[in-house]
Symmetry: C2
Subunit: 316 residues, 2 copies
């Protein structure tokens, strides 16, 4: 175990150094008791956990894919908060034995995820564990103008989404079925993209109510509805559903709307605003489309088409 | 499992609200995707992991003691960096089943640890796990004047410590032996105190080389010596060893110096400076005492009296 720790510390140090622009953010790099960052006007903090056999599996993901996705998923919460990534900290729980090759690939993936969004690796901690776990902690610089909240949905607002839904859920189903068709769906599951680009547009249009879709449209709309004390009526137009997802659903006799509403790990942004604002914003974000309406609270937070799929839960 | 998550989210929210002064630091509290803090001039970040049967055990610690100690130990790295606690984030891995009473006591301990050092709970994450784990991320506001480093020890410096060593190691030995004598030693293991008070004195005297002693004097002196490229010659005067530790060592036929040098989890601060500076500083920090000398690197980083105890390792 001791040599593995040494190896991983080495990888941590090299991943940290490899990020260009790290010097702008990190004043004192990992290695001391703590890391000193440059001053932050609006520090935005988020944490996430990725555990073997709950959030990922070596059965269908390579170590590099696992590392890269853990970073993307954590940074997605910064995108949903209009914050620019600054630094990520990774606490690793590693099982014994843990091969040098696996550790190297895991860090390669973490490094790749960080480089994609110009984020530094600030440090972390390593300890023994029964299964591999990654606890990630990301720090971002928030917008000086606006911190979006899930509690800002108003009756009368429309509910909108920045991109296609349900693809990642189909992707993990394909991996479990060992079906090699529809690689675009598998890629949606393996390589989610935090929507920093879409967040920029939403911020420019003053959108105050945003959440990223990790638990699925229904699950995350529920979070919005509860926090805002509104009822949300969900509806998905079939024309907004991805072609490959539609073909997948035909093959497996599933309803595409069910997959879009109940599927998880999309990491698109869900937001609410007036129809007027949506009309203007749509020009800058052509992939956005309506997924529902916010109503006065009727006693039930979510009204959704009946579905045979249960809401997405990790590890089920 | 789902109900347990709900309960813990409730406890997280209540622990967060219960911290006085939280409003000064936390602009948007836990509950959204991310937490927004007030601006930080010198953000200092540290991470720590506490895993069942490696870092703690329900065999000899209550859930409240486990929560409180996890907080203190994490904040100790901020003390060693001259940073004032701002906010703590806790990622919990909880086994199933996990009783409501255990969860409540764990959070009571976390809340107590936070209140002792005027730190807020910024948020966290909960997921299933085989054994209980706490991944903690602490954010502090560093000093504008000085960020101490482990690489600043110079040949000719003395090496000093802010308080008694070896007591926590004896404490865990007593718990394992089910020996109820020497409660002060057990308390040293159960209730470590981050030395923010001593850090303030060290900062006032411009001490540039500081580390907190978690791995034991020998282990952490090694970290200083490696980072500073010096040889450290350790020596402990028996007069600086705690009376109860001396009595414990008599009972179990151990050398008190061995316990002080190899024992871990003391969380005192280890620092280096010239004898002149130490002479002035000692007036403000009467419990400080010398534990060694920094020399030109001789090819070996640590010279220590021969010992029958191996260096401290968690979970061994």
């Amino acid at each position: 175990m001791k040599d593995e720790f040494k190896l991983i510390r080495k990888l941590l140090a090299s991943a940290s150094r490899s990020i260009e622009g790290g010097g702008d953010f990190i004043k004192v790099p990992p290695g001391d008791d703590a890391c000193l960052l440059s001053g932050l006007r609006n520090p935005v903090i988020t944490t996430d956990t990725h555990r073997e056999n709950i959030h990922f599996s070596f059965d269908w993901q390579t170590p590099e894919e696992i590392g890269r996705k853990a970073v993307s998923v954590t940074l997605s919460d910064l995108a949903a908060s209009y914050a620019k990534p600054v630094s990520l900290f990774v606490n690793l729980g590693i099982p014994s034995p843990f091969s040098e090759k696996t550790a190297e690939e895991l860090y390669k993936g973490i490094g790749r995820g960080l480089a994609e969004y110009n984020c530094t690796l600030g440090g972390g901690n390593i300890s023994g564990s029964d299964l591999l776990s990654l606890d990630l902690f990301a720090i971002g610089e928030g917008s000086a103008d606006l911190f979006p909240l899930r509690s800002e949905a108003k009756p009368g607002d429309g509910l909108y989404c920045t991109g296609p839904l349900g693809m990642a859920r189909a992707g993990i189903d394909l991996l479990k079925k060992k079906d090699t068709e529809f690689q675009s769906l598998v890629n949606s599951f393996k390589f989610p993209k935090p929507r920093f680009d879409a967040a920029k547009v939403l911020l420019n249009h003053g959108i105050r109510c945003v959440i990223d879709i990790s638990d699925g449209l229904k699950g995350d709309a529920m979070h919005l509805a509860e926090a805002s004390n509104v009822t949300i009526e969900l509806s998905i137009d079939r024309r907004n559903i991805d072609h490959d997802l539609t073909a997948f659903c035909e093959k497996y006799r599933l309803k595409p709307e069910d997959m879009a509403i109940a599927g998880g790990e999309d990491y698109e942004l869900l937001f609410s605003c007036s129809q007027d604002v949506y009309g203007k914003l749509k020009k800058d974000l052509p992939d956005a489309y309506p997924v529902g309406q916010c109503l006065m609270f009727t006693g039930k937070h979510i009204l959704a088409p009946s579905s045979e799929l249960s809401s997405f839960q990790h590890g089920r």
